[in-house]
């Protein structure tokens, strides 16, 4: 497959221009670049979801033009999205045949086909299990199978490892190697360089919307690759000198939270969660998504009312106070999903600056809004936090993810919080903004801010935190010292394989650690 001179003038931050890539049959081809570099756009073009403005795509020498994903599927190209597109309440079999009923029907023939594909590539898929009962890694395999079932010979995987723990990543890579051995082509999008180097045959680096280099894993190092990606030196999340004081800022004692699901069945999502964060301390929570981190954050923010236990902020019991009071009392919040919880996408930036702080200065005077002051302060945030925008009247939706995050961060920090809850603060944020956010967290910590950090990026967690806790099935099952722990050790606790106090053991193969430790580990 060949892409030549692909250019896409596209609403958003980075347009693709002059993309040239050659992908060989039967290889794993990695496409790397920082967030917002244009990888996803390129893949959407390849998958027929977007049409390029210029340039050609050739498959086996034929020039093709895709108008829809159906065209791409017809040419044997399939896509596994970053966010799974599965119906939870259907079985694996039903999910796979959904929309592809014409291929092998929906009965025994389809089941046989699924099992055949599953065996052939070692996917280990069970057709009759409900998708809602599957873990993340299994769901991903169902997605892959879905694509293969439709006859794909080329698979596009968009950030497939973002949701996996290290052990699952290895299993995924084994699957990819199987596919390759069977002559299939895999296009693998990632910004985790260690992974890329370990699995890819060819690597194409994309920066600011264009291809800047094509390399072979054997001839490069993560550091070189990262610098190609960013175009300059790398940031690091390291914070080693401790600023932890003995003033307790947030204390959570025996927190219990239950929630009723759609059928009304009570489910415990948090059980006996206790933690303390001091002034100047960053406490990191590691865990596979969906193990109660989101609920913990929501309980501390007051969006969910705990069923038991207490939450104390700076000596005040806030367990059952409304969210607004907690914010006024000094909790800053960087939500996990900024589009749902952090922004009004269709409102101008200055209204977004008011969001969450409508009762506080400078946004309000008494019960009235102070639009002038709010606008002025938005200008200040934009300047101070380097939010790249043409003005404060544009809607939040028109900013790139990194700039949206900078705005949120600036907004929360402008009210001088005592405690900052940062859930995945650098997710979907480009490297420049990432470094900036890390810097600012570090500075604020120095000034006595307490931070609850939740992240799926283990390097970020290890690099920023003063202490680490691991969350598994609603409980804090393990703690670790970020100074010594490795992502692998953390990973096994995240899957429930280890608990208690984790210590670093040196017999963990250092060789394996090297490629895993991606960009951030390098500048040490």
């Amino acid at each position: 497959m060949e892409l030549r001179g692909i250019t896409k003038r596209f609403p958003g931050v980075v347009a693709n221009h002059d993309i040239d890539i050659t992908i060989h049959r039967g290889t794993v081809h990695a496409l790397v670049g920082e967030n917002g570099a244009g990888k996803s756009t390129l893949m959407k073009i390849l998958y027929g979801m977007q049409k390029p403005d210029e340039g050609t795509i050739r498959i086996d020498g034929d020039q093709v033009s895709f108008h829809s994903p159906a065209d791409a599927i017809a040419r044997g190209i399939g896509m596994v999205h970053q966010h799974f597109m599965l119906a939870d309440n259907l079985t694996v079999l039903e999910n796979v045949v959904l929309g592809g009923e014409k291929l092998h029907g929906i009965g025994a023939k389809a089941r046989a086909e699924i099992l055949k594909i599953s065996d052939r590539y070692g996917l280990g898929v069970r057709p009759d299990v409900l998708v809602e009962d599957l873990g993340v890694a299994d769901r991903q395999r169902v997605e892959i199978l879905k694509v293969l079932y439709r006859g794909a010979r080329t698979l596009i995987l968009d950030e497939p490892t973002a949701v996996l723990v290290p052990q699952e990543v290895d299993a995924l890579f084994d699957n990819l190697r199987e596919l390759k051995a069977e002559g299939l082509t895999v296009i693998f999008i990632s910004h985790k360089l260690g992974e890329v180097l370990s699995v890819a045959d060819d690597i194409t680096v994309i920066r600011r919307g264009t291809t800047v280099a094509s390399v072979v894993p054997g001839e490069t190092t993560p550091k070189q690759l990262a610098e190609l990606m960013v175009g300059s030196e790398l940031p690091s999340p390291q914070t080693r000198e401790s600023t932890v004081t003995d003033v307790k800022m947030l204390q959570v004692e025996g927190l219990r939270l239950t929630t009723a699901d759609a059928e009304g069945v009570e489910r415990t999502v948090l059980e006996d969660v206790s933690l303390t964060i001091h002034k100047g301390e960053v406490l990191g929570i590691a865990g596979v998504e969906g193990n109660g981190q989101a609920e913990l954050v929501e309980a501390i923010m007051g969006m969910r009312d705990p069923d038991g236990g207490t939450i104390t902020l700076d000596g005040i019991d806030i367990s059952h106070l409304p969210t607004r009071t907690r914010r006024e009392d000094g909790i800053g919040y960087i939500p996990e999903d900024r589009h749902r919880h952090g922004l009004l996408l269709e409102a101008p930036l200055w209204e977004n600056r008011i969001l969450g702080h409508v009762t506080q200065k400078p946004n309000a005077k008494g019960r009235l809004l102070d639009l002038k002051a709010a606008r002025a302060d938005t200008e200040r945030i934009v300047a101070e936090y380097d939010v790249r925008t043409p003005g404060i009247e544009v809607t939040a939706a028109s900013l790139s993810g990194g700039n949206q995050q900078k705005l949120i961060f600036g907004r929360e920090m402008s009210h001088h919080p005592k405690l900052l809850i940062a859930a995945h603060p650098t997710r979907g944020v480009d490297v420049g903004a990432q470094a900036q956010i890390w810097d600012q967290i570090r500075t604020a910590r120095h000034e006595g801010l307490a931070v609850l950090l939740i992240s799926a990026d283990l390097d970020e967690l290890i690099g920023l935190s003063d202490g680490l806790r691991v969350m598994y099935r609603g409980r804090l099952v393990a703690d670790a010292d970020p100074a010594t722990i490795t992502p692998e050790e953390l990973g096994s606790a995240m899957t429930g394989a280890a608990s208690g106090h984790l210590t670093h053991s040196d017999n963990d193969s250092a060789a394996e650690q090297e490629p895993r430790s991606s960009q951030e580990g390098e500048s040490e």
């Binding site: 003038r9 609403p11 009071t325 907690r326 409102a347 043409p390 003005g391 544009v394």
Partner: protein, 368 residues
């Protein structure tokens, strides 16, 4: 910055223009299909609508429509669909008429009491739907429709001789209000304007001010734009739902007042119904904007005024109804198209400007 604002202005004008052009085109085709001349129809409407008595009629007609649209819009801004404005204003007007008919106080007391009773009853009726939504999770669409039917039944029960009504020829109505409760009129020629016009303007201003200039209004709009962001931002969504339903109902309570205090002076079997539904169309048409809805209410009045005239020119009576429907559809579609286009345009501009900035810095890096 300037560029975006210029676009904003053009886009702002583009939507209504697009909608009106499309609506005219579709209506013309329909009139042509009935074998008549559309241009002549528009001329008749324009001519008749510009007559002074038509203008007075249109404005008087628009006042309750506008109030109704405001009541609906309060819900819309919250993402709540209050279909029950119709029942709310009827039951509110009914009980206001009962109270007003039973009291004989000086006008400066009597009129406010009647209005307050109407607003209270309206908010209680709407509040039921709000409470059911927050406590039982019942969709307000369902409850408000049901409450419309219940309101009609309640009024039907009480509006009988010997209950709360008196018989007058073939009509039942509540006892007439004393003369002290007659609302003032604005003397214009050839017919007076309804004094409630002033109240409508004031309520429109209050609506704009509360929504755009107060903390409460910001919270309300936040919930309307993103419930999840509002909750994370510290807005109590549940309480907001109840509050906004109460406000919507209170505004709905005003809808019947121009009629009650200005012309009928009682609530009878002939009291106008259906204004609550018209309000939904007008709120849609006016995009929940206080000025937009005023224009839409006037447009509605204009169509109703001039539609009758079309019948004298042998056009079908239904043409006006078709026109109203087509206009609402066109406006909804046109605004959505323009909104999406605007959003894309803005994103593209932001992208372009940032790319330009980036190129500049890149060059600077290279040259340094």
């Amino acid at each position: 910055m300037k560029k975006i604002d210029k676009n904003k202005l053009i886009l702002g004008i583009a939507a209504p223009v697009l909608a009106i052009v499309a609506a005219l085109a579709i209506t013309s085709v329909i009139i042509l299909a009935t074998g008549k001349d559309p241009i002549h129809a528009y001329l008749v409407m324009a001519d008749f609508g510009s007559k002074s008595d038509s203008q007075v009629w249109i404005i008087n007609k628009a006042v309750p429509y506008y109030l109704s649209a405001l009541a609906v819009a309060i819900g819309f801004r919250m993402n709540l669909f209050n279909i029950g404005v119709d029942g709310q204003y009827r039951i509110a007007a009914f009980f206001a008429a009962v109270v007003g008919g039973a009291l004989t106080l000086p006008g400066f007391l009597q009129i406010p009491i009647i209005i307050i009773v109407a607003m209270l009853v309206g908010s209680v009726w709407a509040g039921i739907a709000g409470l059911l939504k927050t406590t039982r999770g019942v969709s307000e669409v369902i409850t408000t429709i049901m409450l419309n039917a219940i309101a009609a039944a309640v009024i039907g029960y009480f509006l009988q001789d010997g209950r709360l009504a008196v018989k007058d020829g073939n009509l039942f109505h509540t006892p007439n209000l004393p003369a002290s409760s007659h609302f003032f009129t604005i003397p214009t020629q050839p017919a007076p304007l309804d004094g409630f016009l002033v109240i409508a303007v004031v309520v429109g201003f209050v609506y704009w001010f509360v929504l755009n200039r107060t903390r409460f209004g910001f919270d309300l709009r936040t919930v309307g734009q993103s419930e999840s962001a509002a909750e994370a931002g510290g807005v109590s969504v549940q309480r907001m739902i109840v509050t906004s339903m109460l406000l919507s109902g209170a505004a709905a309570g005003l809808i019947g007042m121009p009629t009650l205090l200005g012309s009928s002076y009682n609530y009878g079997t002939d009291f106008p119904i259906g204004i609550g539904f018209t309000g939904i169309a007008i709120a849609l048409l006016g995009r929940n904007h206080p000025l937009g809805m005023a224009a839409a209410a006037l447009l509605w009045g204009f169509l109703e005024r001039t539609g009758t005239q079309l019948e004298f020119e042998d056009y079908q009576q239904e043409i006006v109804g078709v026109m109203q429907g087509v206009i609402v559809l066109c406006v909804v579609v046109a605004y959505e198209l323009v909104r999406r286009y605007g959003l894309r345009l803005q994103q593209r501009q932001v992208g372009a400007e940032l790319a330009a900035q980036a190129r500049k810095t890149e060059k600077a890096e290279v040259s340094s």
